[in-house]
Subunit: 346 residues, 4 copies
Amino acid sequence: MIKVGIIGSTGYAGGELVRILMGHKDVEIKWYGSRSYIDKKYYEVYQNFFQIVDAVCMDDNMEALAEQVDVIFTATPQGFCASLLNEEILSKVKIVDLSADFRIKDVATYEEWYKIEHKSPQFIEEAVYGLCEVNREDVKKARLVANPGCYTTCSILTIYPLAKEGLIDMNSIIIDAKSGTSGAGRGAKVDNLYCEVNENIKAYGVTNHRHTPEIEEQLGYASGEKVLLNFTPHLVPMNRGILATAYATLKEGVTYEDVRAAYDKYYKEEKFVRVLDKDVCPQTKWVEGSNYVDVNFKIDKRTGRIIMMGAIDNLVKGAAGQAVQNMNLMFGLKETEGLDLIPMFP
Amino acid sequence: MIKVGIIGSTGYAGGELVRILMGHKDVEIKWYGSRSYIDKKYYEVYQNFFQIVDAVCMDDNMEALAEQVDVIFTATPQGFCASLLNEEILSKVKIVDLSADFRIKDVATYEEWYKIEHKSPQFIEEAVYGLCEVNREDVKKARLVANPGCYTTCSILTIYPLAKEGLIDMNSIIIDAKSGTSGAGRGAKVDNLYCEVNENIKAYGVTNHRHTPEIEEQLGYASGEKVLLNFTPHLVPMNRGILATAYATLKEGVTYEDVRAAYDKYYKEEKFVRVLDKDVCPQTKWVEGSNYVDVNFKIDKRTGRIIMMGAIDNLVKGAAGQAVQNMNLMFGLKETEGLDLIPMFP
Amino acid sequence: MIKVGIIGSTGYAGGELVRILMGHKDVEIKWYGSRSYIDKKYYEVYQNFFQIVDAVCMDDNMEALAEQVDVIFTATPQGFCASLLNEEILSKVKIVDLSADFRIKDVATYEEWYKIEHKSPQFIEEAVYGLCEVNREDVKKARLVANPGCYTTCSILTIYPLAKEGLIDMNSIIIDAKSGTSGAGRGAKVDNLYCEVNENIKAYGVTNHRHTPEIEEQLGYASGEKVLLNFTPHLVPMNRGILATAYATLKEGVTYEDVRAAYDKYYKEEKFVRVLDKDVCPQTKWVEGSNYVDVNFKIDKRTGRIIMMGAIDNLVKGAAGQAVQNMNLMFGLKETEGLDLIPMFP
Amino acid sequence: MIKVGIIGSTGYAGGELVRILMGHKDVEIKWYGSRSYIDKKYYEVYQNFFQIVDAVCMDDNMEALAEQVDVIFTATPQGFCASLLNEEILSKVKIVDLSADFRIKDVATYEEWYKIEHKSPQFIEEAVYGLCEVNREDVKKARLVANPGCYTTCSILTIYPLAKEGLIDMNSIIIDAKSGTSGAGRGAKVDNLYCEVNENIKAYGVTNHRHTPEIEEQLGYASGEKVLLNFTPHLVPMNRGILATAYATLKEGVTYEDVRAAYDKYYKEEKFVRVLDKDVCPQTKWVEGSNYVDVNFKIDKRTGRIIMMGAIDNLVKGAAGQAVQNMNLMFGLKETEGLDLIPMFP
């Protein structure tokens, strides 16, 4: 049994990690870290775990934790993991960091977009960007995995085959994304109150959302070009789900078949990426509760653009599910172990 | 492997049966019946099953089906199962009927509340009312199980220990129930359109909802008295979940400890019924996607009444989950097989 | 023009007061009080008022305010109004208090249920309980009106004619109420976050909600008996609306016609109370945004009980609308002035 | 008093017309047309109008109607108005058509996108496109006004000043729009059931939504160029509201101040278009129930693009409100009469 510790287990992503790991046959959760609820029963914070989890919330002492477990998931705010990490910890335990601390290779870019100083830049190079479908082999060998952001997972996987195959103009990309509210976390803020979100839709972080450079960097690697794009997130009145609608100019002469072939080339063997039938648009509800990414596209001959669409559950493939997928790879387990989650409808 | 046929597989309860049975290690679904979608791929009706279910929808020929499977689930409108059932079918295959056809022992009561003629009353006596926590031993021996209604499952299990132990005045029971909209089915009706249900709450079926006699009958068996009660359902703007708030007059001298002891007596060993900690009120979200029933109560000394509360997911414990639980019992499998579903939050 | 000051103008009830008063032809708002947002533009707090309200938020200095306005609305937490009120203020200005401070005539009851000391009990006797349909004549002469609670307005008006006419057993009343989330206020609490409320329903304040003694007191006046009842509120995933489902045992021999006649006797001339056609159940959506109370009932001959139902918009008839209705009466204006609000559907 | 007839009064836009016109002091509704509910009380279809509207639903005999009223609103499916219109009717009565029949000047384009034959192309030229802020003077003189679509109203007004002033590359426009569900109408379709829409978001009509040519035509007039653009609508789980997020490449050297000046030039005097303060993003909730359009923009210097955002209530400014605004202009009334609707929050 792999022993697991979770720091930040009482956030929404932390709770989802617990839900998924409870169904994982090779894993045992040893540490439910939660600075805010120390000594409280975990199920008192999340009553869905009543009679399922009996443990008590612990602090976030990473060094103590490293002695007791094989892998630590940090589902914590930006800066936390970077501030505590050191070589000794990394020599004892594998880490899947769900924050942004090790996602961006250029420290200056990180510090500019996140407005904080990076406390352990020495580990950035070694950290593997844990988008399993793209970096599978590297993840298998990693000590430290930077689990991708929710918007970024959805956006990158939606566009990746076209970037990789050079089918679109990389300077023409516009991503208009829509997210459920769990992405905003469990902090008590007026903006996230039921009455403020319900019956409402708005854009936010326009031109400056922090997932922008992460998407640009990864699509840059895929295409071999420097990429600048527009990314606009929107808050949607639903609990879970991200839909990314991405626009780009198709290169001259690219056909429906070319694009379809590109998607199939990269995703046909991928269990968690489903390229939908022609003309079927992804819906977030069809992936809810699961680790799937549903993608599809449509070409507009009138304008020469392609509209690519992708849908995920932000807490699963966009956070906890992908983290477990990474863990499976890191420990040589079956990649899908614990992730046979069928989407729940309705 | 137990071979399963589902008639009515494209309703919401049918879809949930598929979701649950796909995760059941001893079962294989052989027949996706759906009169409305014959020859259509099942996943085209429910895209969450894309790349998971490849089968095509079949008709609802029960005799043909009886040749091919070990158990049939009928997730069909009232009257359907009763109109097709015969001894030959029952001699070949076990049946879990999710409709109301065999729930009520008195044909006249059935016909009065459902306004249809019962077409096979000869099987009513043999049919076992499939509330597993109450009728476990009978279910194990049954050929035909009448799977309880959603409201009734929640209402009965909430009140059962007090009825059984004689702690409440059985003539004083009032059940005020609230249900998500999936309980109304997938039929295209104006009343169930998004804009009619959203931002709205209403009572319906006041004094004449069909689950009333079913609850009365079962609580009558439990208490050994004829029971008449008020049951008022409400439609709530959410997909899943039923909350029953039940009121009754406590018998003289009954204390908190007496009531708690009664709940513990019947439910302490039950995996799927969770008696919550003192003062914690059940919430439907805490059981969503799972087979749990969360119950609790509060005594009002001022009025001498007890307020009992129960929460279920109407599509799981209120339909498909309980049906699988019954199937497990009927086939001698572990009762919880395929039902280790952790509630999803948020 | 009547000059109006609002203390607590940036809560949900305060915002609704502004919305309604902006359409009132005899009124001018002179003071937007908000301790939390002093010096901020009011529209920056509520952007729906952009280019409609240009004022800046002020403090809550009641004495200064009394010099400048004719009427003060206090949409503030319990205890606030009672702690600041004095004879000098009351001699200069009329007050409509939307909090509970002056609703309950018995100080001990107030202090027991609200767990705070009452700071100006000397004004309780003079305060008029501002349920206009019941206390119209007294409101006209009042200096200080205690605006009823949201649940209480809905509950009392639903039951009032039967209590007054002696048609029900006053010891048998059970009120099961359901409220949208705006009733919980705009405070930043985890329990009121979108993801906690959405797709969920729960009871809360079971046996001890503070609106209980207020309902009991008023129904006691109506019936001439001491009344003890059960009141159970539930939180529903919608912004606005309260539905009260009330149960009582009908007195021997009371018929549908008797009950209907009682409702008509008290409400036929009331603009804001609509007794619906036979068998039509109230829905909160049909009164949303308006000052209406929709009521109806159904008799269950099997159990001898009556089910009474009432629906209001908690922010209008349950708070701001009723407050304006009270103001109209206090100043001799047409009672419906500014309140010709047609419910918005969908 | 202007006598009004509404054909299609029981659709959502029809109901909203009634709500608005009931508060219009110069208007009397004489005809509630509804083919589906002939002879039924209007309030039985929309119970929010109980005790407010006592009329009975009538058929859709346009000739009979033309004798009795001064203006007809047709809130009917595509093709209806065009199929009944003739010179005699138009000589007697003014018409505001809320369908698409007379919005597009080129018949071939209409027939291609709507897949129906246009039955009275002879009136297309005379019909005025009723986007009041753009075509105010023409509307004043019109007999026949084509009321703009909901998505188009929002999209065009969001982009108009930049198109008119030549600040953006007209070939670079991408509009990603999000709509509440009332835009899909009140027809009983599975796709619009509560459980299908709730907790879900999807794109639809990708590359072929019928509002596309309407937007292109109008922005073409504004810019003096032929315009081809991408328009992608999305269905959002809320009742009302459209948010348009529009992307375009700014022309070289255009600054924030230039853009802001363009918006102010066209909208400063417009009551119903509100250009928000810098960095404030429009939210649909802030215009709900009102005739406002909230617009704003943000420039991304990194990519050279501008992100323009606009929000409306699809049933008000996107349908009934704008129709009344057009009527006011056609009859020489104050343009805002009956439209002083303050947005409702929450």
